[in-house]
């Protein structure tokens, strides 16, 4: 698939995220919208996986460490054939496989349940160590929020990945500069963020996280980097694609109303020229 097609998918995924959270009446659109290209670029282009056979032993592993953006992951999974798209509208409803935060015991294709921030990269370290020990070729990807990496455990994981030179591990930070209480640099300064990862012996690639070409190239770089884990520092915009949500902290964890949904969908449709 070329970048143009992928951008079409991104637009559809954005529409799905908005429809899903609106139907649920709750959820996290802001951080979902900022990670769309990162997820679509991975699931549609890079990840070696079989959506019809989610437990295929040789699959690449993906962990959504920032579990609150489950709507984005579910939408991308539906697009790649893990389950029917109609199921998306059951998000957060009683009995649904699409829990508010990804639940591995309910939905095939989810490697591990997440939602408590800061733990996913450590799981990635374990997977990557396990793959190396057993001489497996599959790779592990972990998507983190930038607020999330304020958790100390992230840096414990970063240290161990650097120590073990886990070049089969790729971390992605959705650097949207926003968390619930506002700008990350006001809440708890992260910059110089990329330098921190370098200091922990990671190979760091800094990209525009909404540019599909750069996203795809970054995943390729990660795969060809030897002797170091790779960290993709993706500069993004929280709420990307919906003007009234962009860079507005309040849209972190709030569903759009019917009117807001209509406005957002109309805007996304208009950008489809």
């Amino acid at each position: 698939m070329n970048e143009v097609d992928l951008n079409d998918i991104c637009r559809e995924v954005r529409c799905d995220i908005l429809r899903m959270t609106a139907a649920a009446g709750s959820g996290h659109p802001g951080g979902s919208l900022s990670a769309v290209e990162l997820l679509v670029g991975l699931y549609c282009k890079k990840l070696r996986h079989r959506p019809q056979e989610p437990d295929w032993p040789d699959r690449d592993r993906f962990i959504l460490s920032k579990g609150h953006i489950a709507p984005a992951l579910y939408a991308v999974m539906a697009h790649t054939g893990y389950f029917p798209r109609e199921e998306l509208l059951t998000l957060r409803k009683m009995g649904s496989r699409l829990q508010g935060h990804p639940a591995s015991m309910r939905l095939p294709g989810i490697e591990v349940s997440t939602g408590s921030l800061g733990q996913g990269l450590s799981v990635g370290v374990g997977l990557a160590l396990g793959a190396k020990l057993q001489r497996k070729q599959w790779r592990t990807y972990v998507l983190m929020g930038d607020g999330e990496i304020q958790e100390g455990q992230i840096w414990e994981a970063a240290m161990s990945a650097g120590h073990y030179r886990l070049d089969n591990l790729c971390g992605i930070v959705d650097r949207n500069y926003m968390q619930i209480d506002g700008n990350t640099e006001d809440v708890m300064t992260l910059d110089p963020c990329a330098d921190k990862w370098r200091a922990f012996n990671w190979h760091v690639v800094e990209i525009d996280g909404h540019d599909m070409e750069q996203v795809a190239a970054a995943y390729d770089t990660a795969a060809s980097t030897v002797g170091k884990p790779t960290l993709i520092m993706a500069r993004t915009v929280k709420g990307r694609g919906v003007p009234f949500m962009e860079n507005v902290a309040a849209w972190h964890g709030k569903a759009p109303s019917e009117a807001e949904l209509a406005e957002a969908l109309a805007h996304l449709a208009a950008t489809n020229q």
């Binding site: 649920a24 009446g25 709750s26 959820g27 579990g67 957060r92 409803k93 009683m94 009995g95 649904s96 829990q99 508010g100 935060h101 639940a103 349940s113 997440t114 939602g115 408590s116 921030l117 800061g118 607020g147 999330e148 304020q150 958790e151 100390g152 968390q179 619930i180 209480d181 006001d186 809440v187 708890m188």
Partner: protein, 317 residues
Amino acid sequence: MHNWEWRLCRDGFGEALLELGEKDERVVMLGADLSESTRALWFKERFPQRFFSLGIAEQNMLSAAAGLALAGLIPFVSSYGVFLSGRAWDQIRTTICYSELNVKMAGAHGGISVGPDGATHQALEDCAIMRVLPHMTLVVPCDYHETRKATLAVANMVGPAYIRYGREKTPVVTAADTPFELGKAYTMRAGDDLTIIANGYMVSQALLAAEELADAGIEARVINMHTLKPLDTAAIEKAARETGAIVTAEEHQLIGGLGAATAEVVVATHPVPVQMVGIQDTFGESGAPEELLEAYGLTAADIVAKARIALQMKTKS
């Protein structure tokens, strides 16, 4: 049915913190990226110098609170109960409780009524893992007023304390002037046929259950056990002796919670049948709060059903 007003417990917490901040300059607050939801924001806006934003880093926040306590301040920390009690448990245990440091913790989002966020955000084990800690004071207030009073009360004592309440509005079943004393159970309704001991949101359900039982000629005593530690063992023993059967009700795992704590006292003092309403060793899931409360057996009807079993056991023995 009652015409209860429904209000947020966290509003009671937030308002108490403003009162405390006004009265005592030593009161400080720490937040972990949930300021608005936990109402820490109100304190931050009124006393910006005394609010510390620690980012999404609960373990650091709890140990930093320990340091502030050592420096002579009275730190309050708040987050969602799962992350506060669970993520930072070792920090709370060894740094705060073992050293008996004056750190006050407020765990929001307790219980299954947290709703659509699902299991990851529904604190169902927090009372058990806080109750087990030596030196800890643990309060599970039932409504807005009681949360406010509990917050003021823990500020008035020296040592670690944890207050636990839910996300959603709960029925206001106490009044602004209802007495509140840490460690002292409050009897909400008199009765001698059996006793319902409840805390948190389940106090309202216990009152509704007692009314339904009264319609059937059964007079239930209702005890609001707002302080889970130190537990009012005298009130439990008295209830066992005087009513001969007990039902407990909590929005928490049965293992290690109010029911277990009550049973520990009952078997050691005056053994009588004890039936428990609570979460039965399972995680929660996404859903609307009312749907979940019903599906997981946390309604007045569930209390009534357990009451009938307890009464049957009582007459047999």
